[in-house]
Symmetry: C2
Subunit: 120 residues, 2 copies
């Protein structure tokens, strides 16, 4: 029997920004938690849609043709192949859902790029 996951408990285990942690797996998808603040890099995932669910705070996802503002209890799915840049004026807590094949910053390699996601 696998264990249940308490989101608040997992979130209490880390404080680094822009470094999603794997907290669950559903077939070939990972469930991740992240804390973010400030600006991420423009990037895209050619094959993977990416779900952002805001657990706390307000996240802005900039797109080339507009932007999406997400408050607590709201999610948005960035379609595959769509350039996006997340931004958070204040710290935001996120649940992410994406295929295991996804690369953190797409084909962009940046100081923020995480090559292997940590499991919590």
């Amino acid at each position: 029997m696998t264990n249940k996951v308490n989101l608040a408990e997992k979130l209490s285990l880390f404080s680094d920004h822009w470094s999603p942690k794997i907290v669950g797996e559903v077939n070939d998808f990972d469930v991740k938690l992240a804390k973010v603040k400030g600006e991420f890099v423009w990037h895209q995932h050619d094959e993977e849609d990416e779900l952002f669910l805001v657990l706390k705070g307000k996240l802005v996802i900039e797109l080339r043709d507009g932007k999406v503002e997400l408050n607590e209890g709201e999610f948005y799915v960035v379609p595959k192949g769509t350039e996006h840049k997340p931004f958070a004026a204040e710290e935001v807590h996120l649940m992410l859902l994406e295929k295991k094949t996804v690369k953190h910053t797409g084909d962009v390699v940046d100081a923020l790029t995480v090559r292997e996601f940590q499991r919590l």
Copy 2:
């Protein structure tokens, strides 16, 4: 540009129990919302893991070798091939995540079986 989803708003649009609504798609996965109360049927999904995230209330997932109690902000992934029976003494609001191939009650056909999930 697709639209963001507000969980509370979507939940306000329906009141029927044990009838998950599709509110988002991430590659070959559906994100669903459901309201449940009472007892579901024993069933399993041979190929699909199934994530239950409790948004409100307390859900019990009975398994053949135990049970999992989920409160608000907790999730559990029922591994594929695992018999399970959800139960809610009081109404529970859920977010579900599962592959589009999943059948509501597995190979069991019951009065509760939904053959085609509604989109909201």
